[in-house]
């Protein structure tokens, strides 16, 4: 008899064919968290180089204290939706702080970054509208498009001319929502934001930028790639997450549109889920204040990013993009990628194993992400471990430059 799980058989076979010897990514358990950059995995102290903890704020004493105080004062959870009993003063304060960070905009806070995309993209564009997305968009953007009744069009990754061509064919002006990301999470490549803004302005389209991996990382006060590119006033919507630089979980959307607030009554992923717990909101608020006011974390993050990028480049690795806090190492063969990932873990370095269909262009990647909390010595260890293992597996054959 047919079974609901029959359709997953090819996926089960593909997983079994990967041939992990005794550690696989979905079985990784962080047995003890020592710091933002170290954990015990399989009983061994391991450097974490695949966490999205860009500013290292998960253990910031100020964030921890704020969370403790909120937990004691307001309890473990809200048990309700933002539109019922789930809006506390903390949620409003967090929205005000983000609105202020983005130069006096309105802000909505969601329970995750994924939901922020589902809610804002899926609700904004309706039956007679168009959503034009970058081809390498995150799964949450693709799923938001599936939820929407709009017509969905895809343009070539990071290609303003290709976007221009498609907007010209659509010829739909203000009924178009263009969606791009600030920093793409797999390869660590940045959007050409100035050029994209020029194109969407020419066609009168609205632009939404997902700064999930770029809030706290780019821009004078950490607003993201839109701020670094000097186009914040030209971008209609910015969405993002608290689960990376902000060090907890949750999502947000900011906008200047005068009718923005109506989304609170129209966006189902906002209304029909419980709001964030008070302790999460409190640590997010503290982290947003810190990332706006203390550029030193950003500066340290970029020093680490450049050190890792230069080190791996010099060793002879093929990297996905210019230096950024996401450094993706391309490995030609799938089986070798799996083997290197496993050996890195056994040698005390945790990175992300990323393979198709989660990666663009069918690439096999060992994806590293840096933190401001990494020390120079830790970054040097990551580089030397990569190099030693790649040489012993004959992945690197040329002598180091």
């Amino acid at each position: 008899m047919a079974d609901l799980f029959d359709k997953f058989d090819p996926m089960i076979q593909a997983r079994e064919a990967l041939g992990f010897e005794d550690a696989s990514p979905i079985d990784v358990v962080m047995e003890e968290i020592i710091s933002p950059t170290e954990a015990v995995i399989r009983g061994e102290r391991t450097i974490l180089a695949g966490t999205n903890n860009y500013l290292g704020l998960t253990f910031d004493p100020r964030c921890i204290r704020a969370a403790h105080e909120a937990l004691d004062a307001a309890g473990t959870g809200t048990t309700g939706s933002r539109v019922l009993n789930g809006t506390y003063t903390g949620h409003k304060a967090l929205e005000a702080a983000l609105g202020k960070l983005y130069g006096g905009q309105q802000c909505m806070v969601f329970s995750t970054g994924f939901l922020a995309n589902l809610a804002s993209i899926g609700t904004l564009a309706g039956k007679d509208d168009f959503i034009v997305i970058d081809a390498d968009s995150h799964a949450s953007i693709y799923d938001a498009c599936k939820m929407s009744d709009a017509t969905i069009v895809r343009f070539k990754h990071n290609d303003p001319d290709d976007l221009d061509k498609r907007l010209r064919r659509l010829d739909a002006g203000g009924r178009v929502l263009v969606v791009v990301e600030g920093l793409y999470s797999m390869l660590g490549d940045k959007a050409p934001m100035k050029e994209l803004v020029e194109v969407k302005n020419r066609h009168g389209a609205a632009l939404m930028v997902d700064e999930a991996h770029s809030i706290g990382v780019f821009g004078e006060t950490g607003c993201g790639v839109v701020q670094e590119a000097g186009v914040m006033d030209d971008v209609e919507f910015v969405v993002g997450t608290f689960s990376k630089s902000v060090g907890t979980i949750g999502g947000y959307c900011v906008s200047r549109h005068p009718k923005f607030d109506i989304l609170r009554l129209a966006a189902r992923p906002y209304m029909f889920t419980a709001s964030l717990p008070p302790s999460v909101v409190a640590s997010a608020l503290k982290a947003v204040e810190i990332l706006g006011a203390e550029p030193q974390h950003r500066e340290k993050l970029w020093r680490n990013a450049r050190q890792l990028h230069e080190g791996l480049c010099r060793a002879g690795f093929d990297l996905g993009a210019p230096a950024s806090p996401v450094v993706a190492v391309k490995i030609a063969e799938r089986d070798m990628t799996v083997r290197l990932w496993e050996q890195l873990l056994k040698n005390g370095v945790y990175v992300n194993l990323a393979m198709p269909p989660a990666t663009p262009q069918g690439l096999n990647l060992l994806r590293c992400s840096l933190s401001a909390a990494h020390t120079e010595e830790q970054v040097a260890t990551i580089v030397s471990t990569f190099e030693r293992l790649a040489r012993s597996n004959s992945v690197l054959t040329k002598p180091a430059a």
Partner: protein, 81 residues
Amino acid sequence: MSNALDEIITLIAPHNRKGVAVAAATTFATDLEWDSLTVMDFVAEMEDHFDIIIPLNLLPDLETVGQVADAVNELTEKKNG
């Protein structure tokens, strides 16, 4: 008989790794063994070739080369009409 069919078959050729004989009834997923990303990239190629927009919303209904050709003909007519 659709006008776009022959052109689409020509466009498929460089991506036909399995060397399958392509006709109107050929399916992308089963016969050509294309994954969803390959299909989406091919859609972009057709959009540029025919100077039309093929919304992603149509993809679930486009299983065969012939269905794609019909959709392209319809979209081209709409553009010119």
